[in-house]
Structures are given as structure tokens and as C-alpha cells.
């Protein structure tokens, strides 16, 4: 009835070419980012494993790995203790850094997706400190019902509870305002700090030392046993993150539009929250509170490869692993005979980045909404 033919579509061919070009550019960038991150990760693993008080050259590291794989190629470490140091000390720590880093990176991307807010992050909203409360609880009261899994499971349950509380209290209409989330973080961190203080007061000297270690975050003294304790939980979390990725894209439209596109929003939210807790809890249980990795990694990657979760989530896993591996390498080699707390490092770099993001968000939203 109403004529629409008068609205010219003369611009469409060139415009669709432009759109195809944009898509092509994003795809190229995505391939470059994944390729670059993988290459950097492999290099960093070899360098990190070889670095320390006992230096092992990269070719000897590769030789040792090949040897363990049953391939007799390359040169074995020349130092008599070289092979043992690599496999008993360095590799567990490197693998833990990769696991914890990818867990934090993915948890950041997931939280930002489910909160609909680019500033959501486990440490900022207090989920990490909540997990630490769970870990401290079992340490102080010497609970060991689940053996080596006790601490990661307790941390998982505590971080799940914290995430649910934060999520339930800070959302309205499917979105979370910047101010709400920052204030929620302050409140949750304050309560967690109070509980941790209480546990410090209750605990004996050994427990106190362990608790102080959490607050700073460190991968010092990680052995294969610890890796084996966190790996299953994190594997479930990482795999689960992949399954919710597409639906998180739809959630960016808002809760109701997502529902009108067939998403069971309640189920999606709960699944995502459980995944976050599965990733953050065990990471905190063994590595302590390491903040800002999820925030910065997911945010930078989103700027480069776009916000689509099916690519953002795996990229955040790679990016988080790389950042944490490098941070840990720096932490243990920057000062001779000292292991700097890694949480302190990430906070020193991540804090200012968070500040910068806050400023950017503020100018974008036209003030604090």
C-alpha cells in the first residue's frame, strides 16, 4: 500500500561490499590473533620452563620434552639436575600458570557477557575473594574430607555462592550499571576481607601464612598434585564456556529480546555462573587472588576481534594463559632468590587499566548512570 520503492537502494552494492570487506578484515584479524597467541604461548612455555636459577637452554627444553614423548631427538639438559628441575618444578608451575590464566581470562569474558557490562571481572566484583574465604575456611579448620580436592571444591562452592549473591543483587532489567557493579564489589570484598581477617585470627601460625599467601597470589611451590586437583574442574568450566558462547551473544540484546529468540535466559544465566565458579574457585584455591587478568584480557581482545563470544572466549583462554605465564616468569626471575607475589604484579598493571576502562565507560555513558 505505502510505496517504499522511492527510497533509493542505489548505495547497497557498494555498501554490501564494504560490509563484506569489514567482515573480511575482522576474520583476518581473528586468524592473526589466534595464530599470534598460540605462537607466543609455545615460545613463552619453552622460555619460562628454561628460566630460573638453573638455566636450561630452549633447545634442551625441547629435547627434554621430546625425550619424554619417546622421541629421541634434540639434546637433553646438560646440567645433571636439569631434567629433574624441569619436570618436578618448572613444568607443573608452567602448566598451572596456563590453567589459571586461561580460567581467569574465560571467567572474565563470561562474567562480562552475563552481566552485559565490560567491567565485570571475578576480582572486581569480589568473586575471587569469596573463593578465598572458602579456601581459608577449610585451611583454618583443617577440613580434608575430599583429600587434595578439598580446597578447590570449597573455593568453588564459596565462589559460586558469591557469584550468585553479586548477580542477584546487582542486576535490574537484565543489565548492570557500572556504579552498581563497582559498589557491589566494594561491599563483597569488604565482607570477604572481614571473614578472612577472622580466619587469620582463629588460625595457627601455619594457617596464617597460607592465608597471607592467598591475599597476594602466587604460583610458588606448585607441584603436579595441585595441577591434577584443579585440572578436572577447570576442564569442565572451559568446555562449558564454549557451550554458552552463542547464547551469550543473544543476551547482549537484553534479557527479553534474547528470550524472544528462543534463549532460556534463566538456564543460561545459571549455567554461566556455575562455569565462572568452576573456573575461578580452583584457580584461587591454588594460586590465590590474581586480579584484573579476566578484565583486561577480554577487553583488549574484544577491541581487536570484536565482541562475538564464540571467538572471544577461546581467544581469552589463550590470552589469559599467556599473560599469566609471562607475569609468573617475571615474578620469579625479576629479583634473584625471590618469588614476587603474582597477584601484586597483576594488580599493579591491571589496576591502572581498570581505571582507564572506567574513564572510557564513563565518557561513553555520559556520566555515571
Amino acid at each position: 500500500m505505502a510505496s517504499t520503492a522511492t527510497i533509493s537502494s542505489a548505495t547497497s552494492p557498494s555498501a554490501s561490499e564494504a560490509s563484506a570487506a569489514t567482515r573480511g578484515r575482522v576474520r583476518t584479524r581473528t586468524v592473526l590473533v589466534f595464530g599470534g597467541l598460540t605462537l607466543a604461548l609455545v615460545t613463552a612455555v619453552i622460555v619460562a620452563a628454561g628460566s630460573g636459577q638453573l638455566e636450561v637452554s630452549p633447545s634442551e627444553v625441547i629435547g627434554s620434552i621430546l625425550h619424554r614423548l619417546g622421541i629421541d631427538a634434540g639434546s637433553m639438559p646438560s646440567h645433571p639436575n636439569g631434567d629433574a628441575v624441569l619436570w618436578d618444578v618448572r613444568f607443573p608451575r608452567v602448566v598451572m600458570a596456563l590453567l589459571v590464566g586461561s580460567a581467569l581470562g574465560v571467567a572474565g569474558a563470561l562474567m562480562q557477557g552475563v552481566f552485559g557490562n565490560p567491567l565485570a571481572e571475578p576480582a572486581v566484583v569480589g568473586v575471587s575473594s569469596g573463593a578465598a574465604v572458602g579456601a581459608c575456611l577449610v585451611i583454618v579448620f583443617k577440613i580434608t574430607v575430599l583429600g587434595t580436592f578439598t580446597t578447590p571444591v570449597a573455593a568453588f562452592l564459596a565462589s559460586l555462592l558469591t557469584t550468585l549473591i553479586v548477580y542477584g543483587l546487582s542486576r535490574s532489567n537484565g543489565r548492570t550499571e557500572v556504579v552498581t557493579i563497582v559498589l557491589m564489589g566494594i561491599a563483597v570484598n569488604a565482607v570477604s576481607a572481614g571473614l578472612i581477617g577472622f580466619f587469620v585470627f582463629l588460625g595457627d601460625t601455619q594457617a596464617r601464612e597460607q592465608i597471607v599467601f592467598w591475599q597476594l597470589g602466587s604460583l610458588n611451590g606448585i607441584r603436579w598434585q595441585a595441577v591434577a586437583a584443579v585440572a578436572p574442574l577447570m576442564a569442565v568450566g572451559l568446555a562449558g564456556a564454549g557451550t554458552v558462547a552463542r547464547r551469550l551473544d543473544l543476551l547482549a540484546l537484553g534479557e527479553r529480546p534474547a528470550r524472544h529468540l528462543g534463549v532460556n535466559v534463566e538456564r543460561l544465566r545459571l549455567t554461566t555462573i556455575v562455569m565462572v565458579a568452576l573456573l575461578v574457585g580452583p584457580a584461587v584455591a591454588f594460586a590465590g587472588i590474581i586480579g584484573f587478568v579476566g578484565l583486561v584480557v577480554a577487553h583488549l581482545l574484544r577491541m581487536v576481534i570484536g565482541p562475538s563470544h564464540p571467538t572471544l572466549i577461546p581467544a581469552s583462554a589463550l590470552g589469559g594463559a599467556l599473560v599469566l605465564l609471562l607475569a609468573d616468569l617475571f615474578a620469579r626471575t625479576a629479583v634473584d632468590f625471590a618469588d614476587l607475589p603474582i597477584g601484586m604484579l597483576t594488580a599493579l598493571i591491571g589496576g591502572p587499566s581498570f581505571f582507564w576502562l572506567l574513564r572510557r565507560e564513563r565518557s561513553r555513558a555520559g556520566g555515571w548512570a
Partner: protein, 291 residues
């Protein structure tokens, strides 16, 4: 989503089939009864315009029809089945909803946003036609030139059209549009309602909330006037849109004229008369046609 049972794909409706049916819809916000028992049927092949003054309950009614607002104790059925008996995916294959405002949390491109409309059809045969349908949806809403732009960076009118393209890409048999013309210029208003007409002629059922009575008169098959939480009139534009009814509903002197050349209905406020009671005395209520 619904791995427990096989998703029921929609069958095509014949023109005149009741696609959406609401019975006894009540909505209460706190003490205020916003909708006080609304019955409404929408058939395949028709455009139904919901009009009424601010606060009459038009958007609330659309919210109840779309499931965003609880309609209890009333019932809403889509394609003859109560909404409670469809899964959210099955409803998404049948019912598309365009909200008044569309916000996107992250800088997704327009193309990504429009493609999200195809998501319910994943793993069905219709998935193969995704590219063709997305191209059609973006061309008919005039957003092709915006495809590579980030959705949050668009103007309000551009966002409204891109959001409509997403809903069209979903290809539902029932379209619920909440003020789709609110932030559009006159050309795009015509275009958007032209799309609604085209969809209805293709056999879809379209419900659209409108403020502009002239647009409603020109493009709708049926006009439903909502006032005070009830339906006060429901019928073809020429029957429903009378001086008396509109003046009473809007509390303002309104006259309905025929365009001298085309005969189309024109709805205008009587700016020469300040007092409503006086105007009703001066002009016979049923008068229609050019002065």
C-alpha cells in the same frame, strides 16, 4: 535448548486463521490495574494497530501478548496453543517482538545483530537460506549501508531500523511491534509500515502499537483503541476513527477528515477550538468528509 523433545517447527497459517488469541488479560502493577480484562484475536494476513492515549495500556498489552508481562489470570495462545505449552525456542519460531528501545551491550556490528535473528532456525533446513533472508531483511529496512557499523554507534532511528531488520530476519508468522515508527523520519515511517503491510499480505499477522492515528488509519486493517485498560473500540479504521470516539478517548477536540483527492482518513486536532464541550456542540459528532 529443548533437547528433551523434538522442537515443533511452525506450519504456514492460512489467511484468516487466528494466530494470536488473548482472553481476559489482566495486568496489575501494585495497586493500579493497568489492563482490566482484554480479549483480542489477531488473524493471519491482517495488520492490527493498537492505539490509545499515553498510559492507556497499549505497551502493557503488547508486553502481555509477547509474554514479557504476566497476563494472569488471562490466557494467551499462539497458533492455537497456550504460550505455556510452547518452549521459548518454539515461540521464537512463531512470534517476533520488536521492543520500543533496542540496546546492545557490546559493540556488535549491525550485520551480527541482524544475523542473531536467524538463531532460532539453527539446525533446521531454513538455516540454508540465512544469507538470502538477512539480505532481504536489511534491504527492506534500508540498513544495508550500515552493515559494518557498530550497533551502539548508530542514531536512534538507525538502531530502530536495524532492530526491525533483526526481527524480520527471524521470519515469524506473528510480528509484535512496539512503536516501530517512534524515532523515524516520515519516509522511514512509511517504509516500516509498508513492510508491516507486505508481511500481512504474505500471510503474517502483525500487531503494531502506534501513536500516529493517521499512520494507523492508512496502514492498518483493524484499529484497536485501548483506553483505561480496556478495549473501547475494535474495527476497520473508517468505523473506529470518528470525531466523537477519538475526542472522548483523547480528551481533546479531534476531527477526522477525508483527503480531498485520495479520500484517505486524516486525523487532526481542532486547534481552532480550545474547549472540548464547546466543540462537541458546534460540530455534529458523526460528520465526516471535507469541510
Amino acid at each position: 535448548m529443548s533437547w528433551r523433545r523434538v522442537t515443533r517447527l511452525p506450519d504456514a497459517s492460512a489467511p484468516g486463521d487466528v494466530v494470536l488469541s488473548a482472553r481476559g488479560v489482566h495486568v496489575r502493577f501494585g495497586q493500579v490495574e493497568v489492563l482490566a480484562g482484554i480479549d483480542l484475536d489477531v488473524r493471519a494476513g491482517e495488520v492490527v494497530a493498537l492505539v490509545g492515549p499515553n498510559g492507556a495500556g497499549k505497551s502493557t498489552l503488547l508486553g502481555a501478548l509477547s509474554g514479557d508481562i504476566d497476563a494472569l489470570p488471562g490466557t494467551v495462545t499462539v497458533n492455537g496453543t497456550s504460550v505455556a505449552d510452547w518452549t521459548s525456542l518454539e515461540l521464537a519460531l512463531r512470534r517476533g517482538v520488536l521492543p520500543q528501545r533496542s540496546d546492545v551491550s557490546f559493540p556488535f556490528t549491525v550485520e551480527q545483530v541482524v544475523r542473531m535473528g536467524r538463531e532460532p532456525w539453527r539446525n533446521t533446513e531454513a538455516e540454508d537460506a540465512d544469507d538470502v533472508i538477512v539480505a532481504w531483511a536489511t534491504e527492506s529496512t534500508d540498513v544495508v549501508a550500515l552493515m559494518g557499523r557498530e550497533f551502539p554507534s548508530l542514531s536512534g532511528g538507525e538502531q530502530a531500523r536495524a532492530a526491525l531488520a533483526r526481527v524480520l530476519a527471524q521470519q515469524p508468522g506473528l510480528l509484535l511491534l512496539d512503536e516501530p515508527t517512534a524515532s523515524l523520519d516520515i519516509a522511514h515511517q512509511e517504509q516500516v509500515l509498508g513492510i508491516a503491510r507486505t508481511r500481512a499480505e504474505a500471510g503474517d499477522a502483525v500487531v503494531v502499537v502506534l501513536h500516529d492515528l493517521g499512520l494507523a488509519a492508512a496502514h492498518a486493517d483493524r484499529v484497536v483503541v485501548v483506553s483505561g485498560g480496556v478495549v473501547v473500540a475494535d474495527g476497520p479504521p473508517a468505523d473506529v476513527m470518528t470525531d466523537a470516539l477519538l475526542s472522548a478517548v483523547y480528551g481533546c477536540a479531534i476531527e477526522v477528515l477525508r483527503h480531498p483527492r485520495t479520500g484517505a482518513l486524516m486525523v487532526l486536532p481542532r486547534r481552532d477550538i480550545v474547549d472540548l464541550a464547546e466543540s462537541l456542540e458546534q460540530r455534529p459528532l458523526t460528520t465526516k468528509g471535507a469541510p
